[in-house]
């Protein structure tokens, strides 16, 4: 039974709060305010009892697939287990009861954690200085690029181009635009790596930076990374590392050693903090020493053995957050890092890469268009073979009724990657990323992470095998999936054409 919206439980006069009493029962301070200051209509918030809130929210939580409940091999998202000790350690640390306007002397324990974490992340990245403030990977990208822009201006140069491979996450070009830089897309080789020979023709006096994800979005290591770094540096530009895929390398290889100058990390990926149904994340930025002056304020410095916040940094790009970013995420990641240590971190990447390669090898037996050689922490599968399923009259008919737009013009249904994804939901697995990277046709990007057992991976392989068989024998079963969820596939086009974004309002 699907849970209705909380507004549908609302009855005028119900409430679920208690508050302390008024201190002065004689005077009405609201009435003393000028009329035009006062709200005319009360906000249309739910009016519900405590039991209503508790049952409603508990049921919504049960209507949500999470890593705690399901295998979640979402490529490029690093959905690893989120250790529960981080929840407890965060509570024991007592972050909740600190205020950002308390004097620095009151928060020495927190500033010590920040200082240690900056040093640890500098070591992890092989770079020199770290800002923990960016709230997410995308904000880290903006900060990293704004730092590069400012550093280049300080040199007296006017470079305004960021090179981005065609395989890049969409966020890379969006961040470059936000940082006032122009995006130029560079081509990849057939294997999906940077075309090192073609790179020369893009490197000129306008180029501020090359932005790379390594391993790239196909799960492949840029084997020529040192040559790329040399070329970029020789051209007077900087090399930016998108840390989205650091889980493949963490504890073993470092962006700084490969020649990267600036790097952001995703603590909510590599350092196992919960994704929260969309956030909060944390996207610290690491840079080489010469770029440190440009990092966001505040910075931490030590004065007479005490940590102090330093806002007086004339070259800084400025503050980028109202306070210190997602501090709770940083403290959780600190807990994870201390728990694992250098040895544990090296195990993370080893097992992440082992799991990915095991799964890749098993799937390659079923789907010929799987990443052919060794991959890093993730790999791609192209499911084009499923569209060649034998034509089936009844399936074709039922397919037309479903109106999903599949079909090859000959009456035979195409089973597409999205169909497989939806069928996986029926089989109790959160699907991998589909249709990214975009140039893999009918592509899936699969990242199992290090925390999954061999049995879980085997179960996924069996599910994919079953779906392949179904695609051949009863394609309508796959095309019509999911069958076990509270709603079927939703009409996204209709939803966007005529958006209903709140409980009561429809927009044309």
């Amino acid at each position: 039974m699907s849970e209705a919206l909380i507004y549908q439980r609302s009855r005028p006069g119900r409430y679920a709060y208690t508050l302390p009493p008024r201190l002065d029962r004689e005077r009405d301070f609201t009435a003393a305010l000028p009329k035009d200051f006062i709200r005319k209509n009360p906000p249309a918030l739910p009016e519900v009892s405590k039991v209503d809130v508790v049952r409603h929210m508990t049921r919504l939580s049960q209507e949500t697939i999470s890593i705690d409940s399901h295998f979640y091999p979402l490529g490029s998202c690093t959905m690893k287990h989120n250790p529960m000790i981080a929840d407890r350690a965060l509570a024991g640390f007592g972050l909740d009861g600190l205020h950002p306007h308390q004097p620095d002397g009151d928060v020495q324990g927190l500033l010590k954690v920040f200082t240690e974490m900056e040093a640890y992340l500098a070591e992890v990245t092989g770079l020199d200085a770290v800002s923990l403030i960016p709230s997410a990977g995308a904000q880290g990208e903006f900060v990293g690029l704004a730092v590069i822009r400012k550093a280049i201006q300080a040199r007296g140069e006017n470079r305004h181009v960021v090179l981005v491979p065609d395989t890049a996450h969409g966020t890379n070009p969006a961040s470059a635009a936000l940082a006032g830089l122009k995006v130029v897309v560079i081509p990849s080789t057939i294997e999906g790596l940077v075309d090192v020979d073609a790179l020369d023709s893009y490197l000129n006096d306008d180029v501020a930076a090359l932005m790379l994800t390594n391993p790239n979005t196909l799960g492949l290591f840029e084997k020529d990374i040192e040559t790329i770094a040399q070329k970029v540096h020789k051209a007077g530009a900087l090399l930016y590392y998108d840390g989205a895929n650091l889980n493949a390398l963490v504890g073993r290889y470092r962006p700084g050693d490969m020649g990267f100058d600036v790097c952001h990390l995703n603590l909510h990926k590599t350092f196992a903090t919960p994704h929260g149904g969309g956030g909060p994340g944390s996207g610290p930025v690491a840079v080489r020493a010469e770029l440190e002056p440009f990092l966001p304020v505040p910075r931490i410095r030590t004065v007479n053995g005490e940590y102090r916040l330093d806002f007086n940094r004339p070259d800084s790009i400025g503050p980028i957050h109202g306070n210190w970013g997602n501090v709770a995420v940083v403290v959780r990641a600190y807990t994870y890092l201390r728990l694992l240590g250098h040895d544990g971190l090296a195990d993370v990447s080893a097992s992440a890469v082992l799991n990915a390669n095991y799964l890749r090898a098993q799937l390659a037996k079923i789907f010929p268009n799987t990443t052919p050689g060794l991959c890093m922490h993730e790999f791609t599968v192209s499911l084009t073979c499923l569209s060649k399923s034998p034509a089936n009259e009844s399936a074709s008919k039922s397919h037309k009724q479903s109106g999903n737009g599949n079909g090859n013009g000959n009456g035979a249904p195409h089973v597409r990657a999205m169909d497989v994804a939806k069928r996986l939901l029926d089989l109790g697995i959160h699907p991998p990323t589909v249709y990214f990277p975009t140039f893999i046709s009918e592509g899936m990007l699969i990242e199992p992470t290090e925390t999954e057992t061999k049995e879980t991976l085997d179960n996924f392989v069996a599910a994919m095998q079953q779906i392949k068989r179904e695609a051949a024998e009863q394609p309508e079963l796959v095309i019509g999936a999911p069958h076990t969820t509270q709603v079927g596939r939703l009409d996204d086009v209709g939803a966007a054409r005529n958006p209903v974004l709140t409980f009561c309002c429809t927009f044309q």
């Binding site: 919206l5 609201t30 994704h275 969309g278 807990t335 709140t502």
Partner: protein, 449 residues
């Protein structure tokens, strides 16, 4: 390592299947001289890490050790026990962004409810699923206006949180947009000023950074006459009694969501809310959830209007934001569901009352005077003959967090003013007691004696 589940037998079987004889061989694509060993502490047990964090925590002085009167953008309010218990459920916490809508209806419904409550509270027609914090919500509001009007300047009230002004500058400067101050007198934005016709948005905060209640109606009229939009940054608790941005005619409402059910947490558990009028919906940044039907006519919820977003539009996206603050927005949804319209009115009334009582008490002290003589909501600025830094330090010694030092806080912003050099911004909420107020009063008397 405890989170890696492989037995030796598993590992061997998996390596065999992958066609290599060691884990090291899996890293063959990487030049071998790049391999390194990190100089980090060795791993420790869960008990040791819990103890370590407790030790670090013990080096902080927590709010509970003080009587506190500190706001400045982050506020301490009563958090109903349902909020952390329900929003903290691990099913919510460990889910990813709900891209697979059929399997994420719980998260999607919660976001849809969040959007509905935020639209209701701000009096606007639509809301996104949250941005990073109040400061970046102001930034996103300005970018929306810049895109919509195709103009190049933003006019900012010096009553906007000074840190938010600085963040706005950091974001607008790289693209060459201009930021200029609005006229501001006696702690309030001048309602009758002329807005230039190159201005994309007027940004005004209510209650403003000095706690003063602004009337938005006049400036909205002037802005709209000039073809500019109005970005109103509002305190969500105040909206229980104060005119909403929608009622005042603002186009975009933003603000810091932390007061709605989240602890101060050193400003590290924030989210920005962002709502707008109907004509701007398709330019709103960030994730948005909409209602949709499946082929059997069942209603469900899904991420919608994705044509605005970076994974489709790349460098032409409305913003680069992807990860947001969904879990904290969920806290606010539970908070607002517990409070309802009546609770929001009541909590706002209590804040107003306590602040008035605090102000009356402190003004009885010789040497204490109000900085701006205007109605305030839950913050109020006073000055004394002594430097604010010394006064706050002396109060701190007496176990009182007296407020925010305005001279320091407003540096490098349009709010900076000689007037503020001895000024302190104090704050009272529904959690302030008579004893707190009296303790502050007598402590300040002693400090100024």
């Amino acid at each position: 390592m405890v989170f890696v589940p492989h037995t030796e037998i598993d590992r061997k079987a998996m390596l065999d299947a992958a066609g290599v004889d060691s884990v090291e061989a899996l890293f063959a694509p990487i030049p071998s001289h790049l391999a390194t060993q990190l100089d980090l502490p060795a791993g420790i047990s869960e008990w040791e890490v819990e103890r370590l964090l407790a030790e670090r925590g013990a080096q902080n002085r927590k709010l509970s050790e003080f009587r506190r009167f500190v706001g400045g953008g982050i506020y301490e309010h009563w958090i109903p026990p349902e909020v952390p218990s329900l929003a903290g459920r691990r099913e919510f916490m460990t889910a990813y962004t709900p891209y697979q809508s059929e399997a994420s209806q719980g998260t999607l419904k919660a976001i849809f409810e969040y959007q509905t409550t935020i639209a209701a509270l701000t009096g606007m027609e639509a809301s996104n699923a949250s941005v990073y914090d109040g400061a970046t919500a102001v930034v996103e509001g300005c970018f929306l206006a810049l895109r919509h009007t195709r103009r190049n300047a933003i006019a900012v009230s010096p009553g906007l949180n000074p840190r938010h002004q600085q963040v706005l500058r950091a974001y607008l400067e790289p693209q060459g947009f201009e930021i200029r101050p609005l006229e501001f007198q006696n702690g309030k934005t001048n309602e009758n000023q002329i807005i230039g016709n190159d201005v994309a948005a007027v940004v005004i905060q209510n209650p403003n950074a000095f706690g003063i209640i602004e009337s938005l109606h006049g400036i909205v009229e002037k802005a709209h006459e000039a073809g500019a939009l109005v970005v109103a940054s509002v305190n969500p608790i105040s909206l229980g009694i104060l005119a909403s941005p929608g009622e005042a005619g603002a186009d975009i409402a933003v603000g810091e969501g932390q007061p709605m059910g989240l602890p101060p947490a050193y400003g590290g558990m924030c989210f920005g809310f962002m709502a707008c009028t109907k004509p701007l919906v398709r330019k709103l940044p960030g994730r948005i959830v909409g209602e949709a039907q499946d082929k059997n006519g069942r209603t469900g919820y899904t991420l919608t209007l994705q044509a605005r977003e970076q994974h489709i539009r790349r460098e032409k996206a409305t913003s680069n934001i992807c990860t947001n603050q969904a879990l904290f927005a969920l806290h606010a949804t539970v908070y607002l569901s517990c409070m309802g319209p009546q609770g929001m009115r009541e909590v706002a009334t209590l804040c107003l009352e306590r602040t008035a009582l605090l102000r009356e008490r402190l003004l009885k002290i010789p040497g204490v005077e109000t900085v701006f003589d205007a109605p305030v909501f839950h913050e109020w600025a006073y000055r004394t003959p002594r430097p604010a830094e010394q006064v706050l330090a002396a109060l701190h010694e007496k176990g009182i967090l007296g407020g925010v030092e305005l001279g320091h806080w407003t540096q490098n912003s349009f709010s900076q003013d000689e007037e503020l050099s001895n000024a302190i911004l104090t704050c009272a909420t529904e959690l302030t007691t008579n004893e707190d107020i009296e303790a502050y009063g007598s402590a300040l008397e002693e400090v100024l004696r």
